[in-house]
Amino acid sequence: MDPAEVEFLAEKEIVKIIPNFSLDKIYLIGGDLGPFNPGLPVQVPVWLALNLKQRQKCRILPPQWMDVDKLEEVREMERKEDSFTPPPSPYYMELTKLLLNHASDNIPKADEIRTLVKDIWDTRIAKLRLSADSFISQQEAHAKLDNLTLMEINTTRSFLLGSLNCMFKLRSNMQPGTSAGKAPDY
C-alpha cells in the first residue's frame, strides 16, 4: 500500500474547525455535516478541514492528543517500555504531518510537536525492526501487534511479508511432497 493511501484513510478522521462562513447542513453520502456558523466549532473530516483551511475559510483546532505535555509523556513511556504503548492516535503520524504542514499557525508550539512526534515515531520503528528481526529468526508463525498504527505496519509491510513468503517457499521446497503439482510463484 502507498503511504499516500494510508494518508487517504487517515483523512477520514474527525477534527474540530471554526468556520468563518455560514452554510446549512450538508448531507454527504458518508454522513451529515454542519450546519456551519461563523465562530462556532463544528466537527468535519480532515480532508474537508484541510480544503477549507487552504481556501482560508476556517481555523483548525488541534486534536486533544496534539499537546506538548501529553506527547512528552507518551515519548517517555515509549522509551521506557520494551513493547509498544498505545499510540496517541491510530493515525498520529499522518495527522501530524497534514495538520502541521497546512495549519501550523493554528497549532501552538508546532515545532516542538513535530520533534516530539518524530521521536515517538523513531522509537517505535526501532522497536518494530527489533521485533521483526526476532520474528524471522525464531521462525514464529503468529504475532500480536495491537498497538501498531497502520503507517508503521505499512512501512515494513512489503519487506517483512515478502521475506516471510520467500522463506516459506524455500522451506516448503526443501520438504519433499508438500506442494505436489503446484508451480511455485517466482
Binding site: 484513510l9 450538508i26 503468529h142 503439482g181
Partner: protein, 222 residues
C-alpha cells in the same frame, strides 16, 4: 438548490433486500477494498455493494449538474464523490490485476462452484477472464507453439500459471471474537498451537488459516 442536494443525499437505498444506509454502504466498500488489496487470492465478488455505490455516485453527479457551479456545497460534494470514486476504482483494479495474474485458476474456481454459492466474478469480470484466456492461448500459439513439434504444441494453463499462494502472511484486525484459531508451525520442531482472537486486536499470520473469516467479515485485512 439546497433541497435538491439535501433530499437526495439523505435518501435510503432500499432497492436491495437488506437496507443499508449510505454510511454503511461506504464503510462496506472500504472494507472490501482493503480486503481485496491485501489478500493473496481473489475474494468473493461484492457486486451489490459496487452497484449501490455506482447508483449513489450517479445520483449525486446528476444533482450536481443541475446546481450552479462555484457553489460551496457543490465543491464539498464533488470532493466526496472523487474520494469514493477513487476507492471504487482501486477496488475494481485490484480485482482485475488478480484476475489477470491467476486467470486459469479463477475460471476453474468459478466453473466448479456449486449453484448456491456466491460467485467470485461479476458477469463482466467473467467475460474479461475468458477473453484473456483465449487471447493468451492465441498469442502463445501464434508466437511459439506452432513452431514446436506437433506433440509439444499443447500448453496446460493451470500448470503454466502459478496458483495464488494462500500461505502468504497477512496483517489483520479482528472484528468479531474468534476462539481456537489453529496456528501451524513453521519448522518441524515446533508444535501447532491455538490462539484466541480478541475484538480490536491486530495480528500477523498466514492467510490460509483465516481465509474463511475474511469472507464472513469477522476479520479485516490491514
Amino acid at each position: 438548490m439546497s433541497d435538491a442536494l439535501s433530499e437526495d443525499g439523505s435518501e435510503q437505498n432500499d432497492s436491495q433486500e437488506d437496507v443499508m444506509t449510505p454510511v454503511e454502504l461506504i464503510a462496506k466498500l472500504e472494507e472490501a477494498w482493503l480486503n481485496e488489496k491485501f489478500s493473496p487470492d481473489l475474494l468473493e465478488n461484492k457486486s451489490e455493494v459496487v452497484e449501490c455505490v455506482m447508483e449513489q455516485l450517479n445520483h449525486m453527479e446528476d444533482n450536481l449538474q443541475r446546481v450552479s457551479k462555484g457553489d460551496m456545497k457543490a465543491s464539498v460534494h464533488r470532493m466526496e464523490i472523487d474520494r469514493i470514486r477513487f476507492v471504487l476504482s482501486s477496488y475494481l483494479r485490484s480485482r482485475l490485476q488478480k484476475i489477470e495474474k491467476f486467470f486459469p485458476h479463477v475460471l476453474e474456481k468459478e466453473k466448479s462452484r456449486a449453484d448456491g454459492d456466491p460467485s467470485y466474478l461479476s458477469p463482466e469480470e467473467y467475460a474479461f477472464a475468458r477473453e484473456y484466456l483465449a487471447n493468451t492461448e492465441t498469442y502463445l500459439k501464434a508466437i511459439a507453439l506452432r513452431h514446436m513439434p506437433p506433440n509439444l504444441q499443447a500448453v496446460d494453463m493451470m500448470k503454466a500459471v502459478p496458483e495464488p499462494c494462500l500461505d502468504s502472511f497477512v496483517f489483520l484486525r479482528v472484528k468479531e471474537r474468534q476462539d481456537n484459531i489453529m496456528v501451524e508451525p513453521e519448522t518441524d520442531d515446533q508444535r501447532e498451537y491455538v490462539v484466541d482472537l480478541d475484538v480490536g486486536s491486530q495480528h500477523l499470520m498466514r492467510y490460509r488459516t483465516i481465509a474463511p473469516l475474511v469472507s464472513t467479515g469477522a476479520v479485516q485485512l490491514i
